[in-house]
């Protein structure tokens, strides 16, 4: 009887569906799909449709990113994600290899001993803060690129900035960095912090925020000026977050055992010669920058992640 096969089919489908690991669904839920909040006007819809038709094969790539997201950052998530198997290890290997391979005698950067103090993963992207002695480095690793910027302590007590390498998709980024909380002027739980508006080599903008928080802070969520939130990764008194686009952060919701507090963030462009803070102890000074020949093909630039301007 057909009922027998129906029952078998239902049971077989249920059994196979049961094999789906829960974490796959979790991964899907963590993605920021960026739902459109307003319907397109007819004229806009028509223009968009015509544009999509004209671009043909590019449509799928653009559709897969959600509105306003660059293809270079496909898979980015507003909430830190659990790293895929081997993701952190692979990123760390790329980062330390570039740190070791792109050293220049004048950089004062240590050849080894880099330890990861903070790791932020968002989909396929891994951002690491590393430290070795008095030097610190920020490494941004994605499916097709690794970009490293490092600060080394100087004998004069300052620090210098080194954009060591950039390759492929995001290359050596250029942009501007603004700061808040210089000289201990911050009165809230968020201490010295930097916000960098950067451009990938393909011209795609992205924004990178890192800073320090007081002891006991367990979570930081940054509110952007467009009303969207980005949850930062917090570890050892530091936080870091980044997102595609050039929208800035305006406030931070800070969680601790004492509760939740909101702090307004006011970033300013530091004057020339002013040092910018870094969550990993070292700071960089706009007039103390030095660049080091890069190992990734893109030309080294003094302006990059963490660079003062």
């Amino acid at each position: 009887m057909i009922e027998g096969l129906e029952a078998e089919l239902r049971a077989a489908f249920a059994e196979r569906a049961h094999d789906v690991p829960a974490q796959v669904g979790e991964r899907l839920r963590r993605i920021d799909y960026r739902p459109r909040s307003r319907a397109l006007s007819p004229r806009m819809a028509l223009a968009t449709g015509a544009g999509l038709a004209a671009t043909g094969g590019a449509v799928v790539a653009l559709v897969g990113l959600g509105a306003g997201t660059s293809p270079a950052f496909a898979g980015w998530s507003a909430t830190p994600t659990r790293p895929a198997s081997g993701q952190t290890t692979s990123a760390q290997e790329h980062c330390t290899a570039q740190l070791a391979g792109a050293l220049h005698p004048s950089s004062n950067l240590p050849a080894g001993g880099w330890e990861t103090v903070l790791t932020d993963t968002r989909g396929p992207f891994t951002l690491m803060i590393l430290r070795s002695g008095g030097a610190s480095a920020t490494c941004f690793n994605g499916p097709s690129f690794t970009t490293v910027a490092a600060n080394s302590a100087q004998t004069n007590g300052g620090a210098s900035e080194h954009v060591l390498s950039g390759s492929s998709a995001t290359g050596a980024a250029r942009g501007s960095t603004s700061v808040m909380g210089l000289g201990g002027s911050s009165t809230g739980p968020v201490g010295p912090a930097t916000q960098s508006h950067l451009l990938a080599s393909g011209g795609e903008p992205y924004t990178f925020v890192q800073g320090q928080v007081v002891a006991g802070v367990t979570g930081v969520t940054l509110a952007r000026s467009d009303g969207n939130d980005v949850q930062a990764t917090v570890a050892d008194g530091s936080f870091v977050a980044w997102w595609p686009g050039s929208v800035g952060a305006t406030s931070a919701q800070v969680r601790s055992s004492a509760g939740t507090a909101t702090q307004q963030l006011t970033f300013i462009v530091p004057p020339a010669g002013q040092c910018t803070p870094s969550p990993s102890a070292a700071s960089s000074c706009a007039n103390g920058s030095a660049s080091v020949p890069g190992g990734g093909g893109a030309g080294p630039e003094p302006e990059g992640p963490l660079a003062g301007k």
């Binding site: 009887m1 057909i2 009922e3 027998g4 096969l5 129906e6 078998e8 089919l9 239902r10 049971a11 077989a12 489908f13 249920a14 059994e15 196979r16 569906a17 094999d19 789906v20 690991p21 796959v24 669904g25 991964r27 899907l28 839920r29 993605i31 799909y33 960026r34 739902p35 459109r36 909040s37 307003r38 319907a39 799928v60 559709v63 897969g64 990113l65 959600g66 509105a67 969207n228």
Partner: protein
Amino acid sequence: MMPVMRRPSRGGTRAEFERFVDDCADVLLRTGYLIVWDLAEAEDLVQETLVRVARRWPRVRRMDQPVAYARRILVNLAIDDGKRRSRRRGELEPPDGPLQARADEAAARVFGTLDARAELLGALALLPPRQRTVLVLRYFEDLSEAQTAQTLGCSVGTVKSTASRALARLREALVEPDGVSPAHGDGHLINDTKEPQR
């Protein structure tokens, strides 16, 4: 299987969409997995589906059944994907039979006769994407023939004939040379077609 979505209210667009994803991601994933038979492919398809829904969310959120819209996108993506993979598999495999079937034979030689459930799953894996999709919608999602037709954008008659062909292929695959089905020793596994119990 799919949760019934309430008609969303105005405002809170982003929160509404996140609730929609919370409610539907798992079931879309399972449906996609059963159609394309590959977890990584299914995850990609669901992600693509949700991105497309997000882009049209102001319109989709006003639908009575946003999930039905998402399912329709998923199914169409999955069938297209399945066809591509079938073509690739056809190019790679020798004409004497699919790789999966030969793997099953090898496993059977090693471990003895495959059990009935494994036989059925193996036969399902070899169905053309559209036929497997109809069975998934009818027997996993528990959709009616009319709902299945709406999802696939075809007529009820097409759903009936596709399901009939799919069941016939399963019957052929399951019935052993002596006419006895490994799933049911009485040999009467499939004799007719009938609407699933609703």
